[in-house]
């Protein structure tokens, strides 16, 4: 495969890498940038474990090829933690509501929740479920994840009110 140079930002840091055009963003994050928070579940765009934000849109790193990254701004789970690696309010809300069991799907769910709240998502359960519809969890049965999202919305609104 021909090699290409691509420049993009990950969590506000600039990168320029040389790679093959169809190399997956997931591999670039995990192997080149050593950002291991983004997980590979199914590897074919079904499960949402590798969800990241690309230019603000929730996207799947396992089916995003390098060729499509030029000039893009990527946000991963590492980028939404508070300074010094403290868990963000979403992650804390998930922990407090028991939304994490084995934890493998959690980064994807946290990214989907981040996107939902950023877009002004409400406490409406149907809307929350729609926003999480691309993410699979095999442990929790989803009820506690929905509770975690609701709790995160409450904490977000408290933070905004202050």
């Amino acid at each position: 495969m021909n090699k290409i140079k691509v420049s993009f930002k990950v969590n506000n840091k600039d990168y320029e890498i040389e790679t093959t055009p169809l190399r997956r963003l997931l591999d670039i994050l995990r192997e080149d940038l050593k950002l291991m928070g983004t997980k590979e579940g199914c590897g074919e765009g079904e499960c949402g474990a590798c969800s990241v934000l690309i230019d603000g849109e929730l996207s799947l790193a396992c089916i995003t090829p390098a060729t499509q990254l030029e000039g893009k701004e990527i946000l991963t789970i590492e980028g939404i933690s508070d300074k010094d690696g403290e868990p963000s309010y979403i992650q804390k809300a998930f922990i407090d509501k028991g939304a994490v069991q084995c934890g493998f799907c959690t980064p994807g769910f946290v990214m989907a929740t981040h996107k939902y709240i950023k877009d002004g998502g409400s406490n409406d359960e149907t809307k929350i479920k729609e926003a999480l519809s691309g993410n699979f969890c095999r442990c929790t049965g989803y009820a506690k994840i929905v509770d975690g999202v609701k709790e995160a919305i409450v904490r977000h609104n408290d933070k905004e009110a202050k």
């Binding site: 021909n2 169809l22 765009g45």
Partner: protein, 272 residues
């Protein structure tokens, strides 16, 4: 060996397409292509990445009689679009069944059209709305009805030097809806679906996962408003239009029976 060309402008794209008569694989949202390449289902090795052209080929606008959706518009953008929500709620309903939220943010309307899956969720609805596609090449545009775009399984009325630039949906006062039968709401592939649009004694019908390619149910449409048709009659009529396949999701026989029941329920409903 896989090669990926990355045109920065439409001019560059057509220079590539005119240089050699080759069946290029166009990479748009990548939601079908990336898994297909990985699994070895997609064998074409000459790709053209359209991501640099995305801005110019994305968005929704209207003219006097149509709503026009540019080809690289994602389903997430389609679902948020006011014009489409106002005029074509059945199409919005169908587009919400495509993958899940993540896939909808990446997948494009033209991708769904050219992938030509018999199970594609947006296509029966677009077919009953009499959508057309604009095919663009360095020679200009030609417009073709979506119902004439499919000629066989993954066999499309498009030349190697053409791309889809627009999807044109005429506004109308027909009542339209879309019914899907699947195993779960999100991230599932449709077992069978039925789209319809009607007004007075006119109806347009199309079914998903019912034939080798997306198509209108012309024989059924023609006889749909005859009086006193029975379920058995529809079984005979529908056989002229569809022949669903067996696959891992469902048997052809099951699909046929469900579709016949959906069509018959609609018939009873509209006879009232």
């Amino acid at each position: 060996m896989i090669s990926v060309l990355r045109p920065k402008t439409t001019k560059e794209l057509f220079e590539i397409l005119d240089k050699e008569d080759k069946n290029y694989l166009f990479l748009a949202g990548g939601t079908d292509i990336m898994p297909s390449i990985k699994k070895g289902i997609e064998k074409r090795e000459d790709l053209i990445d359209l991501s640099f052209l995305k801005k110019g080929f994305s968005g929704v606008y209207r003219d006097k009689t149509n709503i026009i959706v540019k080809s690289l518009t994602t389903f997430a953008k389609i679902q948020k679009d006011e014009l489409l929500n106002k005029h074509f709620p059945s199409f919005i309903k169908a587009s919400k069944l495509i993958g899940g939220y993540t896939i909808q943010g990446m997948a494009t309307i033209a991708g769904n059209i050219v992938n030509a899956s018999p199970a594609a969720d947006s296509l029966p609805s677009l077919l009953t709305l009499n959508a057309k596609v604009t095919l663009l090449s360095s020679n200009g545009e030609r417009i073709i009805e979506l119902k004439d775009f499919y000629k066989g399984y993954k066999n499309l009325e498009i030349k190697n030097n053409e791309i889809i630039s627009n999807i044109i949906i005429p506004t109308s006062d027909y009542q339209a809806d879309f019914i899907e039968v699947g195993t779960r709401k999100a991230m599932s592939i449709t077992k069978v679906s039925l789209a319809y649009a009607y007004k007075d004694k006119n109806i347009f019908l199309s079914a998903g996962s019912a034939f080798a390619y997306p198509k209108r149910l012309f024989a059924t449409e023609k006889r749909f408003f005859e009086k006193d048709l029975t379920k058995k009659d529809f079984e005979i009529i529908l056989k002229e239009d569809v022949s669903p396949l067996d696959d891992i999701r469902s048997s052809g026989n099951y699909r046929f029976n469900v579709l016949r029941n959906l069509v018959f329920s609609l018939y009873q409903e509209l006879q009232k």
